[in-house]
Amino acid sequence: MPGYIKDIINSLKSLAIGLEITNREFLKKPITLQYPHEALKMTPRYRGHIELYKNPETGTHSCISCGMCASVCPSNCITINSRKVPGVKGKVLSSYILNFTTCSLCGQCVENCKTGSIGFSNEYNLAGTNKDDYIFDLLKRLHPEGIPEPVVDPELLKQEEEKLAAAAQKAAEKKAAAQKAAEQASTDASGEATAEEKS
């Protein structure tokens, strides 16, 4: 009997303590951040989708189109298209396609980039109506006003042209020599044939 009464009193006391705690919480200010009206402050290391960084010296990206990022990506999100422009050392980036629908923000691409030209952005409120909204061309995003032409180095251009000319000349000489040798061989063969016919 005394246990029964004590049981009841303890239960009621625990319920009253619970009520007191919620009462205290009720009187405190809400902690909600009213999202569209107030903005979230992102930490600098937040992993949004990757972006090409603008090199302050050259005014454009530093990507050398080595393709490391594309080859280490676990989900094969990155496609790099590049071309060779005469007079520019190395390859020139034509487009850097990131398929963000499969990206898992693992950071392998950023870590393995040889020139440090890509990094995470701070974008967290991407919303779109179409899957194609999430196939980014990072080069276009870096240069929305228009992709600048690559800077042609005149020295290099001259060297390349000379090299090309020399190579072309060499090829032409080789071709002439081969033709001559072929003619020689055919006259030899026909000479042999006539010699054979004679004997």
């Binding site: 319920l15 619970g18 705690i21 919620t22 919480e25 009720f26 809400p30 009213q34």
Partner: protein
């Protein structure tokens, strides 16, 4: 003619009161829940979310009333209506102020309990008529819960009737005039366990209206939505409104029986319906407060609570009251 005008004005008044309550008690609950949980409740629709109930009502009315193929159609359609009718009907007997009763019954208390028992039928109809095993389980749980908790409620009410000597609700309120020390909850000269009996009555009314922590019928996280799983649109709306109406009735009854109805707590201040509403809404707020604080009891815990704790206590209280009345 006078009588007709009086009845009509009461009809309009109670309809307005009911409509306002049913809509805005939902707002109170959501705002209260929000602030207890350190967040805002509804905010965007109207200032402080005050137009939210209208938006909810519009949404519910525009939904399709789907009747499941396996459902028992007449039962399914009748259940929400039957839930609403007793709740609305009981407002006929509640004295809002001195003489402010739509209809004077000298057995008002009896009528209250009679109609409140009808509400259980609607839950069972909904549970069975949905043709859904979850709803059936919930319906049977709710029936056993309601029956179990009506008994201590009735016994406690009998205690009050013994003290005041009448079943008439207005008389019960008039008996408690003169100041808060004459309210039934504090009348320790009539029974030493009077506050306990108030608590018992309050808990029973919580269980009768299927409010948390006794909401096994609607157990949201176990049985999805209990007996009103299959209802959409205004069917669900009617159940929700019936629940809030029952809530108001339960709190009104507690106020009348224990807290002195429309009597003011001090002799100096005038008594009137404003005191009734104040006390009633305080009790409603306590309901909301308790809902968002406590987890749900199990079926066994619920039945244990009723049969092993509430009923013995109320019987003891009855005997004590009889003793005190005879001796003192």
């Amino acid at each position: 003619m006078d009588e007709l005008i009086r009845l009509l004005s009461y009809f309009v008044g109670i309809a307005a009161f009911l409509g306002f309550n049913l809509a805005y008690l939902g707002w109170v609950e959501r705002k209260g829940a929000g602030h207890i949980q350190r967040r805002n409740g509804p905010k965007e629709v109207g200032p402080y979310g005050l137009l939210q109930p209208l938006a909810d009502g519009l949404k519910l009315m525009s939904k399709q009333l789907v009747v499941p193929a396996a459902a028992d159609k007449p039962l399914f359609m009748c259940a929400p209506v039957l839930a609403m009718v007793p709740a609305v009907l009981l407002f006929v007997v509640i004295p809002f102020g001195d003489g402010l009763v739509p209809r004077q019954f000298n057995s008002g208390l009896l009528m209250m309990f009679a109609f409140a028992s009808v509400a259980v039928l609607s839950i069972l109809m909904a549970g069975w008529g949905s043709g859904n095993k979850y709803s059936l389980i919930a319906g049977t749980r709710a029936v056993s819960q309601n029956i179990a908790f009506e008994i201590p409620m009735l016994i406690t009410a009998i205690t009050i009737v013994m003290i005041t000597g009448t079943l008439d609700l207005s008389e019960i309120v008039r008996y408690q005039d003169g100041g808060f020390w004459r309210w039934n909850i504090f009348r320790l000269d009539k029974s030493i366990l009077m506050p306990a009996s108030f608590l018992i009555f309050y808990i029973c009314s919580m269980a009768e209206t299927n409010r948390a922590p006794f909401d096994l019928g609607e157990a949201e996280s176990e049985l999805v939505a209990g007996y009103h799983t299959e209802y959409g649109g205004m069917g669900f709306g009617l159940f929700m409104m019936a629940e809030y109406a029952n809530l108001v009735i339960g709190c009104s009854l507690t106020t009348i029986l224990f807290l002195g109805g429309w009597q003011s707590p001090f002799g100096i201040l005038p008594d009137g319906p404003h005191w009734f509403f104040l006390k009633m809404y305080f009790l409603v707020w306590c309901f909301v407060w308790m809902r968002w604080t406590f987890p749900r009891v199990t079926l066994w815990g619920l039945l244990n609570l009723s049969w092993k704790y509430l009923i013995p206590f109320s019987l003891v209280n009855l005997l004590l009251t009889a003793l005190f009345i005879k001796v003192f």
